[in-house]
Symmetry: C2
Subunit: 454 residues, 2 copies
């Protein structure tokens, strides 16, 4: 049984063996590992060390390891290899979907070169087909490998064909049934096959309650369908219903994880998909854009606050609560946006109209705003602050919470409508905007209350 | 083929049919739907309407729909039914893992009552077993349904046994091989079975490179293993290696989605797992705790800023940049935390020590801090601000960015070490703390620079 944990000792040991070129010991060290574990080991090595190791692996393992590598590492590795080696040692041994994903990371000229070196023309054709789809659609996620049988076949014909087809397919899951035109008409579960007498006709045991997606469906939709219906494999059809490929759950798990990570990173103000192991340069590049936007917002905010310089000079105590009002606007806005963004992502928005949603959010906001502004009013009253300050802070708190809630609900709904990823609404952009508007509301109330009461 | 989209018209139509009690029309309307779709329909109905519908479904569909419902809706529904109905109509028809999950939502007395009404004692025993595990462990996720064969069987014996066992198991995926003591020794893939001659011995075709988890492994670990190794089913073993259950990918997809959603909600300051369809009351309850913490932070901040009232009175222009400094501290801190939190969640932290990570973060922080403070210095210089103000803002910007980066990196690492979910570090708590400390740094620099230059 494999239960491998990567340690520094392991890597140091391996590096020493690579340096003295002890092939036998290296092979022994890697032998028991799963390709996903070997990929982890690779990511701790430099390119030359990695190459030494790579050519000690048997071909199938090498191809599996390549699939498991991080995109950046893989590209660097492949760029250093001739097209023929890529074709014969790697691409030829992969499932079509992995092959297309990996080729898609190379430039078009190199793609063509690699494809021209493949021995099996029909395999090359399948990969070229897959390369033509957008990677964020069902077409870009599917593999060509699947087992299909014709509806007018008998079980023995079927079994013979399946045995042959099964050699090309890693995990079977379902056997798809098509009609004479290649249109998907149903599935045959392996369990049903195990339980059926041998002389049954296919059309009598097929299950025609079949869920499929069109080749141009978005990858998020694919993930939502497979999650909702608990599917491990989903057939992909073209515009007229012909079966063109199959998406398996492992690819969808990746999409879901990436999707969730992307939303989370967006909410945290990170613009690229960074891993902790990426370089300092990549990290800086991923973080600075939002910081600059935040800074621009802060500068605009400083000019806005500057407009109230007279008020602040006379009543510097107004500055005491500026951080509180700014933070509250930001916090409330993010909460409201996050709920909408998540519902949009998981497709659980329900059938309420946008107006109903805003109305509900307004109720929640009024409730929260009442609680929060009462507390801050009580606090200022208790510590004996001036009435004008007490009133300003409480009134601003109430208005800012209500405004930020509605704004935080409206923005992602609006972005989604105009086909922009709504997750940006939970990022620093909306927070910054809420900050500025909150400051304006606060200082306007300040002007009003100090004129009224002082 | 089913491709159902829930519309308001559909629900209104259904409600009218329920009101006039037109059973035939209702059945017709629901007939084509997948249980997951029926569950969506249910969630738009009130309890009485839902009950009418429920008893029109055939028993297997009713059980499937129950599994698909949101936890709150399901509990409300089950609480209104007698234990015998729950046992015979629902629990008896479910897989053991779903049965245990659903029973686990009821109180212990009701659990016992329902179990006592089950006809199949061994099924009841399996469910009781599963109920004893923590729901966030492998034991709490696994099902008892699986296909296992003994290593000393021949293929024909195996096939006979498998046919019988397959009747109880929804998706087969793998056939597990155990020795005489019940210890897991390998798997038999269905594909391999399809391709092997009928007279093969099991021990000669089993695959002994098998990945398993112990029954007490955390659900996050289970998800990471299945994702990393691309598994659709994972066997669960007890302390001495005996096969006790099996976890399938669909359960793991739920865990992953929940985990990702939880981190995202935590980062957004939401304390409960809320759906957009939840009541106003639940939404308010989920949001207000963090807002109160933010408010407490803001109040502490107001006292801190209050300590500098003399400075602010003389130099109200210092207030102009308070929102900027506060926002930057918050933004930078969240970015740093998010990267650590995500690496911890996906198990991709690598083998660097915490010191190496902090050092790297320091480099990134110094880079970002230099860029940002140069820009704000340039801006203030360009608009002709006082030298003291220009210096204060630039120096504070630099310090706050560096401090918030290190703080944002350190806190989640520390929380993870003391076994607290590090995702809280990206929530309003750390943001608020960064805000206050940022304000303090800023006003201290203000005091220093105005004493130096004015």
């Amino acid at each position: 049984m494999i239960n491998f944990e990567l340690t520094r000792e392991y890597i140091e040991n391996l590096r020493e063996l690579i340096e003295v070129n002890d092939e036998t010991a290296i092979k022994l060290l890697l032998e028991e590992l799963h390709p996903a574990d070997i990929a982890e080991v690779y990511e701790e090595l430099d390119l030359d060390e990695a190459k030494v190791l790579y050519f000690l692996l048997d071909d199938d393992t090498a191809a599996d390891v390549l699939t498991e590598l991080e995109e950046d590492d893989r590209r660097r590795f492949l760029t250093s290899l001739p097209s023929e080696v890529i074709a014969k040692r790697f691409i030829d041994r992969m499932d079509t979907d992995d092959a297309a994903d990996i080729l898609g990371e190379l430039d078009v000229a190199k793609q063509q070169e690699v494809l021209s070196h493949l021995d099996d023309i029909s395999n090359a054709g399948d990969i070229a087909d897959l390369l033509s789809y957008d990677e964020d659609t069902a077409g870009g996620m599917m593999a060509k490998e699947l087992i299909k049988v014709k509806e007018n076949w008998s079980v023995p014909t079927c079994l013979r064909s399946m045995r042959k087809q099964a050699e090309e397919v890693d995990e079977v899951y379902y056997v798809y049934v098509v009609n004479a035109d290649g249109v998907l008409v149903g599935t045959l579960s392996l369990k049903r096959m195990l339980l059926s007498p041998i002389d049954t006709q296919i059309k009598n045991i097929l299950n025609d309650d079949i869920i499929s997606v069109r080749v141009d469906a978005a990858s998020e939709e694919v993930a939502n369908i497979m999650d909702k219906y608990g599917l491990v494999a989903l057939p992909v059809i073209d515009g007229v219903g012909r079966l063109v490929g199959r998406i398996t759950i492992d690819d969808v798990v990746d999409v879901m994880r990436e999707e969730a990570e992307k939303d989370y990173q967006m909410a945290s103000g990170i613009t690229e998909d960074v891993e902790i192991s990426d370089t300092v340069w990549i990290h800086t590049r991923a973080r600075i854009p939002w910081l600059l936007i935040g800074m621009l917002g802060g500068i605009i905010g400083s000019r806005l606050v500057g407009g109230f310089v007279g008020l602040l000079q006379q009543h510097p105590e107004l500055a005491f609560f500026m951080p509180l009002i700014g933070a509250m606007g930001g916090n409330v806005g993010i909460q409201s946006s996050a709920i909408i963004v998540q519902s949009l992502a998981s497709g659980s928005l329900g059938i309420d109209t946008n107006w109903t949603k805003l109305l509900k959010e307004l109720t929640i906001a009024l409730l929260n705003a009442s609680v929060l502004s009462s507390i801050i009013f009580g606090y200022n009253y208790f510590i004996g602050a001036e009435l004008a300050l007490t009133g300003t802070v409480a009134a601003a708190m109430f208005s800012v919470v209500v405004f930020a809630s509605l704004f935080g609900t409206f923005i992602p709904l609006f972005l989604s409508k105009i086909k922009i990823d709504p997750a940006v609404a939970t990022g620093p952009f909306v927070t910054t905007l809420n900050d500025i508007i909150g400051m304006f509301i606060y200082l306007m109330f300040g002007t009003l209350f100090y004129n009224l009461f002082v």
